[in-house]
């Protein structure tokens, strides 16, 4: 397995819903005219509470500070797991990542953010934790750091000295979960078709906030997803093991999932017909810890 440390240095921001109007212009620029801003990493998640933005530093420059914008302190690096060319027969995806990346990082007290997309899963770690990450994962992965678009192998550091933090068990805090009734559809889009649907997307994002039903042009495979929201209180960025306590049990039960971290809460998307068993599995986790 290969672990790629991507070039992007990502900032995580929260935009309060009332402030959206102020950021319409930079957001449209980042969304539809990526060449204008040289922004290479951009994610926008709308939740009932706020908009969470994950953008690299080029993109961050586009966003003027204001009272609506809340910026997390740390700079995050993006990790991406890819199966090595040549032996792509093993199961990959979030299940594999849960066991091989999320759990070890949680054990070594590294706080992570997850961002699942249709194509792949991104793991965001704080820049200051990078040495720990490399040390922790070097045993199982060939680690490459991307420089100028080309992967450069990272030398494995064998010395365990200077290891900053002691190992801890999983976080004892069990965060409550909620599952709203909304059904979600996960899509992928060819970048070339983006201009064709730009007006619709702008309308949905900034004005009507309702997704038109006839836009599902690539949904013919028909998978629908339900969401599980993790956290009663805003989770913050320091606590580790949150992703692990959700992804772990799901992986154990072999349930595929998308996992999306936002500024305040974490969200897992699970197959619609599996929602019952997911709730059950996650409840059991609570019970298991409680007993």
């Amino acid at each position: 397995m290969e672990l790629h440390i991507l070039e992007h240095r990502v900032r995580v921001l929260s935009l309060a819903r009332p402030g959206l109007w102020l950021y319409t212009h930079p957001l449209i620029k980042l969304l539809f005219l990526p060449r204008r801003s040289r922004c290479k990493f951009f994610s926008l998640t709308e939740t009932p509470e706020d908009y969470t933005l994950m953008v690299d530093e080029e993109g961050f420059k586009e966003l003027p500070p204001s009272e609506f914008l809340q910026v997390a302190e740390a700079t995050w690096l993006v990790l991406n797991v890819s199966s090595p060319s040549g032996a792509a027969v093993q199961a990959a995806g979030v299940t594999k990542i849960a066991r091989s990346v999320i759990a070890p990082l949680a054990e070594h007290h590294v706080s992570v953010l997850m961002l699942s997309t249709y194509q792949t899963d991104f793991i965001l770690v704080r820049e200051q934790d990078l040495s720990v990450v490399i040390h922790t994962l070097a045993r199982e992965f060939d680690i490459y750091r991307e420089v100028g678009g080309e992967p450069v192998p990272v030398a494995r550091d064998d010395s365990s000295n200077g290891f900053p933090r002691a190992q801890h068990g999983l976080s004892p805090t069990v965060h409550p979960i909620q599952s709203p009734q909304n059904r979600f559809c996960v899509l992928t889009l060819d970048p070339e078709t983006l201009p064709a649907i730009a007006t619709t997307l702008i309308d949905v994002l900034f004005y009507s906030h309702r997704f038109p039903s006839d836009l599902l042009l690539t949904s013919s495979s028909g998978e629908l997803w339900r969401m599980v929201r993790i956290g009663g209180q805003p989770l913050g960025f320091d606590e580790c093991g949150i992703v692990a306590q959700i992804a772990g049990p799901l992986a154990a039960a072999d349930i595929s999932a998308y996992y999306i971290s936002t500024f305040n809460f974490d969200h897992a998307l699970v197959p619609e017909d599996g929602i019952g068993s997911v709730i059950e599995v996650l409840q059991r986790r609570q019970d298991g810890l409680g007993s």
Binding site: S85, G86, V89, G93, S116, T193, T218, S221, L224
Partner: protein, 913 residues
């Protein structure tokens, strides 16, 4: 098809049909409009073709890519890849009762929806269809479907059922691919490798991968960014093109680590790259927002082998229309034909014009190739212009050993066919120069002087050197009043007259012998004129009478003699008046100038000097006799320039073999193309040089290289020493061209003769030894000379017995004293002389003893097969392979002789008449 950009495809079998696809599929039929009017509703494609719309299919929305079924089908079966990853089979046929009825409408559905980037039908199993999809987290991106698969999973997933509501026939859905490849990766382009049904080349996210379906866990891959548009050269199955942004990479699958070459980068990103299916090694590329298609011709680079050899590629571009081109397609069978479509769906059908390559044959014919056609243009045999052609002449002259007679140089003009007066003059001049050279040098040894060096520099230099040295004094000659104009013949003038051939060597100024030789050759008019110019009118009349009576000459010579005898000194006589007007009616220039001379005013001989039909040497000799120093100098100067401009070889007499002579020869070669004469002539100057140098001192190579003249030499007043002349790049160019020409005629022996001739005259032209035989044990060259003088050109004979300068044992290596290998036939160590050829019929060859001797030397040479490494004495090998095809070593089955490509060629001169 993304957005508004249409794509275009030719039908693989019904070659008059093509499909344009953007949001819908439109089938067109192409018709020729050469003999008919444009039909209503047809679209003009080119001057002589038009397209008619046959049908439109808009049943498949969200098209991303289209591929035409490769087996023959009358229905136009197409596979369409959609934006959701589904692959749909559809048709543009009108007849739905075909064998493909079941297939049409069939859909192949991936587990997770994402864009289908590319489709490729298997060329060997027509039912196999590969689809390349975008990345999904855990899913495969390369799916290979069997279109005849009836398999539908028993338990259709719930969401599938829900979404396929409205699909009446669920059996049309296929969800189980034959093969799944490329997990957790994206596939951007695909093509099947024609080598095997189960080999698939895919451009993945970051690499090119070859999947082997016989073992799907194995794949060969190379990391590269050039992953788009992979396509196999239809004529060279190991050659593949792919691209990234503006750069095309060409790969050799046998050496897959890196591209064998990359084409020059285009400023705009490429959109399509396609090999021409009708011509080898022709690649067409198209970039975004461009109205030209760039063509790369890799004709001459079929197998890139070495790393260092940078293959040459000819780049061209065609502009089929003014608008931007959205896409193009090569016609599958019609040569170099292509159709292009623009974003607004106008189409244009055209043929890429083939490059014409043209070659002159060295024997008067012209060949040119255009596409698959080869044209030869040869002159008709019975046309005598063929004989006049310089190439024919040079060939014949080469066969008759023209230029190689170094003893009697003048004879070369006879070898040349004795028909060209200029060549005759040239070789006589060279003859006289060499002759005089020899003579003056002999004289010089007795009395110091350096006239010898003057000789090769021509009369112009001789005349110049005498300028101002001698004041003229009048001789009193009897018989003619012209005696007042006879100049005192100083040494230089005598030398000039000698070069002109009027007088023989020595101080004897008698023209008698010359006249006799002219009379013998039947040149009565010329002899008479020369006699007259020597003021011997009686002799002239006598010669004319002789000519008239001999029967071979013109009978009118008697009349001329009569007229001549009426000569009178009287200025205003009737004779003088009549002669000066009537002489112009005489056909023979010599008769004409005789009267011009007699009727001219004293001191003005323009009628003689500028009569162009009179040989230059006679005019010059005349001038030497009758013009004063300054007049002579002016006249020679003027004549020299005239000769140089005209490229008249008679002028060599004036210029000699100097830079001036090279200039003259240059205009001669420009006029005639006769590099043969130029080469041989200019080589003669080295003969002059080397002989004179030998006479003066023993030259060393460094002396020859040092062009500064010796202090006593008169080289300074001429333009360059002989070596300078020979090293003139024009001269070297002629020589090299002549050698190439001989090679092209397959006159290899003639070329070798020329090279020997050349190296005799110009030792610096000897090539250095390029091949050495090295010892198996110590690795040193076995050539004896090599230890002392490395890389000095030494003949091969030195490897053998005869050439060994030291008396060391010849059968052992001079470096390590180990024995040399044994000859495979006689089993004796190499280095020993060859015994008489076993079984050879040498008795009939013993005609020419010297030739036989040379042959015997060659028989001692080493020779061996480069394949099996067996060999031995050249003579033995030659006689062995006369009767055998296989190697003489008993266990070896190597067909050595057949591997030798030049072994079976026959030099052309042996088959010449």
């Amino acid at each position: 098809m993304s957005g508004t950009k249409p794509d275009i495809l030719w039908a693989p079998h019904q070659v008059d049909r093509f499909v344009v696809c953007d949001s819908e599929l439109s089938l067109y039929h192409v018709e020729s409009t050469v003999n008919s009017e444009l039909k209503a509703g047809s679209l003009r494609l080119s001057e002589d073709s038009a397209a008619t719309l046959l049908s439109i299919n808009s049943e498949t929305p969200y098209m991303k890519c289209v591929a035409w079924y490769l087996s023959y089908d009358p229905e136009c079966l197409l596979a369409v890849g959609q934006a959701n990853g589904r692959v749909v089979l559809t048709s543009l046929g009108q007849d739905h009762n075909s064998k493909f009825r079941d297939l049409i409408g069939k859909e192949f559905v991936p587990k997770h929806a994402r864009q289908c980037n590319t489709l490729a039908w298997n060329p060997l199993d027509s039912n196999w269809l590969a689809a390349g999809l975008d990345k999904h987290r855990a899913d495969f991106s390369v799916l290979i479907w069997d279109i005849c698969s009836k398999y539908t999973p028993d338990i259709v997933p719930m969401e599938k059922v829900r979404l396929s509501v409205g699909e009446t026939e669920t059996s049309l859905l296929v969800t189980k691919p034959l093969y799944e490849l490329g997990q957790n990766d994206a596939c951007l382009s695909l093509c099947w490798l024609p080598r095997d049904q189960k080999l698939l080349l895919a451009g993945m996210h970051r690499n090119l991968a070859i999947f082997d379906l016989r073992n799907t866990s194995q794949k060969m891959f190379v990391n590269t960014k050039a992953v788009q548009g992979v396509t196999v050269d239809p004529y060279f199955h190991d050659r593949v093109a792919s691209f990234y942004e503006g750069q095309v990479a060409i790969w050799d699958l046998r050496k897959f680590e890196k591209p064998v070459l990359t084409l020059t980068e285009q400023p705009k990103p490429l959109t399509k790259v396609a090999w021409c299916p009708t011509r080898t090694g022709l690649l067409a590329t198209l970039t975004r927002d461009s109205n030209i298609i760039r063509l790369y011709d890799m004709q001459h680079t079929p197998t890139p082998i070495g790393d260092e050899t940078e293959p040459t590629i000819i780049e061209r571009s065609v502009q089929p229309c003014d608008n931007y081109i959205a896409s193009f397609a090569w016609h599958p069978t019609s040569q170099n034909r292509m159709i292009v479509v623009t974003p607004n769906r106008t189409m244009s059908d055209f043929t890429v014009f083939e490059r014409i390559s043209l070659a002159w044959s060295p024997i008067t014919s012209l060949m040119w190739a255009c596409g698959r056609h080869l044209y030869e243009c040869a002159e008709e045999e019975n046309d005598n212009s063929l004989e006049k052609d310089i190439a024919t002449k040079m060939r014949l002259r080469a066969l008759s050993r023209y230029g190689l007679d170094t003893e009697q140089v003048w004879r070369n003009h006879i070898l040349a066919g004795n028909e060209d007066p200029q060549l005759k003059s040239l070789w006589y001049t060279l003859h006289y120069i060499l002759f005089m050279k020899q003579y003056t040098e002999d004289m010089d040894q007795k009395s110091p002087g350096n006239k010898g060096s003057l000789v090769y520099a021509g009369i112009k230099s001789i005349v110049k050197s005498s300028l101002g040295m001698v004041e003229s004094s009048r001789h009193n000659w009897s018989g003619l009043d012209k005696q007042s104009d006879i100049q005192n013949l100083n040494e230089e003038r005598i030398l000039a007259l000698q070069l002109c051939g009027w007088i023989k060597k020595g101080t004897d100024v008698d023209v008698g012998p010359f006249l006799n030789s002219l009379v013998q050759e039947g040149e009565w008019e010329r002899a008479a004129a020369v006699a007259l110019f020597n003021l011997d009118i009686r002799r002239a009349i006598q010669i004319l009478n002789e000519g008239a009576s001999s029967g071979k000459g013109d009978l009118n010579l008697n009349v001329v003699a009569m007229a001549l005898s009426g000569y009178t000194d009287e200025k205003n006589s009737l004779w003088r008046e009549m002669c000066s007007t009537l002489r112009l009616q005489l056909n023979n220039p010599y008769l004409c100038v005789m009267f011009a001379f007699l009727t001219s005013e004293a001191g003005s001989y323009d009628g003689v000097l500028y009569e162009n039909k009179v040989a230059v040497r006679d005019r010059v000799a005349f001038a030497c006799k009758f013009l004063s120093d300054s007049q002579l100098n002016r006249y020679i100067e003027k004549l020299t320039n005239e000769m140089k401009d005209a490229g008249n070889l008679e002028g060599i007499l004036l210029t000699g073999l100097t830079k001036d002579g090279v200039d003259l020869m240059e205009s001669y070669v420009d006029r005639t193309g006769d590099v043969q004469t130029a080469s041989y002539c200019m080589l003669q100057c080295m003969k002059v040089k080397s002989e004179s140098e030998v006479a003066q001192s023993c030259p060393t190579l460094s002396d020859l290289m040092d062009c500064s003249p010796p202090a006593s030499s008169v080289h300074g007043i001429f333009q360059g020493s002989p070596l300078d002349v020979l090293k003139d790049e024009r001269v070297q160019y002629w020589i090299e061209n002549y050698r190439n020409l001989l090679d092209a005629w397959r006159f290899w022996h003639k070329r070798a003769e020329f090279d020997i001739h050349r190296s005799k005259l110009d030792p610096s032209s000897k090539p250095l030894a390029q091949v050495f035989v090295s010892c198996n044990f110590c690795g040193k060259s076995i050539s004896y000379s090599c230890s002392t003088v490395p890389h000095q050109g030494r003949g091969f004979s030195q490897y053998g017995v005869s050439g060994s300068p030291t008396k060391s044992k010849v059968t052992s290596c001079p470096g390590c004293r180990k024995p040399l290998p044994r000859c495979a036939l006689c089993l004796i160590n190499m280095g020993t002389p060859v015994s008489s050829c076993p079984g050879g019929s040498k008795s009939d060859e013993k005609v020419d003893l010297s030739k036989d001797k040379k042959l015997a030397q060659f028989n001692n040479w080493f020779t061996w097969c480069h394949n099996c490494r067996h060999g031995g004495h050249a003579g033995h090998m030659l006689s062995w392979f006369r009767d055998h095809a296989e190697c003489p070593v008993s266990a070896c089955t190597c067909k050595c002789m057949q591997l030798d490509t030049t072994g079976n060629l026959v030099p052309a001169e042996t088959v010449q008449p």
